[in-house]
Symmetry: C2
Subunit: 385 residues, 2 copies
């Protein structure tokens, strides 16, 4: 059973212009302790793409995310059950968080049909038909053995009208109650988080938070962000919703974001993040550095003997030149995907560690200022280059 | 400058049926010592596909091969020159052998036109036009900084008539002389091997060996095998040609082969091998084990908790189940390519080590017998499963 210790709440202000609501905490699970705020690399289908578990250790990853929808379809739950859970199957000894499938029904599954009962859908792999319910999402995640399970939610896109958002919100609440009850009946092993929806309406975010926090989940997530809305609107919704969540429980914003997003949302008091951006962008040659985002395909790196980021201590930066990394990327060598991914994940984990240190030292705004000056861009302007 | 020490010549016979002509030796280069017989993993374009240099160390690789044709086209010689050679560029500290491009003109380049002068061809990547000559092949390999360079040869396919083979053979000899002279003029740094051609005609293999061995190359290779001919014919040509090469110089058969080929050709006295089979097959899910070849995609491995090969000490076999490896392969996860390749390269390197030990102990035929019984197949029957 999860224990969340709130170690510090920042009281910094930025010369009166902004409050820092960043928090320091620790989450204790059966598979170890996680210092928050934390970023969780995404291991969709039983592997953080291109990395081994030793690579993840090198990158200082402390918890990874698995996608229930993907794992349910492949390898399938009989395999996971036979192999005694996801940890043993993939050889990851530290905590795992699994989502509920809700986001994939929204984004990936074919012909998803939502009813009060659950979701009927066709596999994006082979078109086979399946049904998920809030109870089944719990069953599957118990089989996976996730340290943190997520309640089945109804995620909607942007833009969406108030009526549509309200319907999804209400269904999410009913499903959260059913999932919570199913979890309790199964002995309340591991942990289950509820997910707040409410689209881009503050009033509906408040309503959803009210409904969800009536349920005694060990932690809460904010879902339905980063679904196509403008960045400023995402920040506005997060800023509005985070304070509505219980102070002494972890707060997790799902599927977000850029390095700048992590900085801004940490300032607002978010404790947990996940996003495919560091892994996916790595495979597309987009590498995060202390000086901004670097496109390794760029011809200017052809003869460049420097590391990707002179300030980075990752395996890639301490061993390889930009010239070689560009060559591997252009030649589509498999090693390219691994080296790039190691760097990006390390960068994200390192950024979180630096933020934790800055919060501890009451120097969060000083850190943020230096971060933006170095990255030579602004969160509202998008990435450089 | 290369030093080849011939440490032992086997005198075993297989109850009178076969002679063992296997040799033990060591090749000393500027980048270290290689015990022979040795297998050289292929790092075509600056990376043994899917592996880092640390992975290669784990696999006990002592020398790798780079393809001159590929590296010349990408990243290009200005990059290699700027990065001070291939070793520094790819961070591999041990010996490198580079081929001359001859095989790629035969197999890969577009519209290759052979003349006495050299080969005019178009890049398989972008169609750009280039010309290679024996002298240029030396220049490029000197820039690469290969410990062992190969003379430009004219490789032909199977079947080929005697006249065609003779023409290629004669051109190969003239080019070998020109390449050798160019190498001498450049100070005879590093090492240059000559390549025996002669198609599937024993008389022409003899003629080519006679012509080539008149040149004082530090080592000799047999080219133009494994170009589509039946296995028995390949063995016949190798068996005929290997004894024609100087006893106190390394003998290298290019582009061969299966584990069974390595065993048979080692018995015939070959010292060096390279082949894309362990790396390419790994990426296609074909894994070499002590009990034969295993297709990891097979449904029977779905719930299999065993390692690929219980006798193998590689990272993959000591850490992962067949069930997980099958899943990674079916899901086309990048980690699959790396784990499979680590195993196959380790298997090849381990096989060579076991053969060296068997030769040292005068137990080569005993080793071979056990090898075939376990692999449950015969070199003339192809791989199992």
């Amino acid at each position: 059973m999860l224990k969340f210790e709130l170690k510090k709440e920042s009281t910094e202000d930025n010369k009166g212009a902004e409050q820092c609501r960043a928090r320091l905490g620790s989450i204790t699970t059966d598979h170890g302790v996680i210092d928050t705020p934390i970023f969780m690399p995404v291991g969709t289908v039983g592997s953080v793409k291109a990395l081994s578990v030793e690579d993840l250790d090198h990158c200082k990853a402390k918890i990874i995310l698995g996608n229930t929808y993907h794992l349910y379809l492949r390898p399938g739950m009989d395999v996971i059950e036979h192999m005694q859970g996801l940890h043993d199957f993939i050889r990851w000894k530290k905590p795992i968080l699994t989502d509920s499938g809700g986001y994939q029904f929204f984004s990936l599954a074919r012909l998803a049909k939502f009813s009060d009962e659950g979701v009927a859908f066709q596999s994006h792999i082979d078109g086979s038909r399946h049904v998920f319910s809030p109870e089944k999402a719990i069953d599957i995640q118990l089989t996976l053995g996730s340290d943190i399970m997520m309640s089945l939610d109804w995620c909607i896109g942007y833009p969406a009208g108030e009526k549509e958002v309200m319907e999804a919100l209400n269904k999410t609440t009913r499903w959260a109650n059913r999932g919570f009850d199913a979890w309790q009946e199964k002995g309340a092993v591991n942990n289950l988080f509820g997910i707040v929806q409410g689209g881009m309406f503050k009033s509906l975010r408040s309503l959803s938070a009210d409904q969800l926090t009536e349920i005694d989940f060990p932690g809460f997530a904010i879902g339905g962000l980063s679904v196509g809305e403008p960045k400023a609107l995402m920040y506005e919704m997060a800023d509005h919703t985070l304070p509505l969540l219980p102070r002494h429980k972890p707060r997790y914003i799902m599927g977000v974001g850029t390095p700048e997003d992590l900085v801004e949302l940490t300032r607002m008091g978010c404790d947990m993040f996940d996003c495919v951006m560091p892994t996916r962008n790595a495979r597309n040659g987009q590498l995060f550095t202390s000086k901004g985002t670097l496109n390794i395909a760029n011809a200017k790196y052809r003869l460049d003997k420097n590391p990707l980021d002179a300030e980075c201590n990752c395996y890639t930066c301490t061993h390889y030149s930009r010239s070689y990394l560009r060559h591997l990327y252009k030649a589509r060598e498999i090693l390219s995907y691994r080296l790039n991914t190691i760097h990006n994940i390390y960068y994200y984990m390192d950024l979180m560690e630096k933020m934790r240190n800055a919060i501890a030292a009451d120097r969060f705004f000083e850190f943020r200022q230096a971060f933006y000056v170095k990255r030579q861009n602004d969160p509202r302007e998008g990435v450089s280059e």
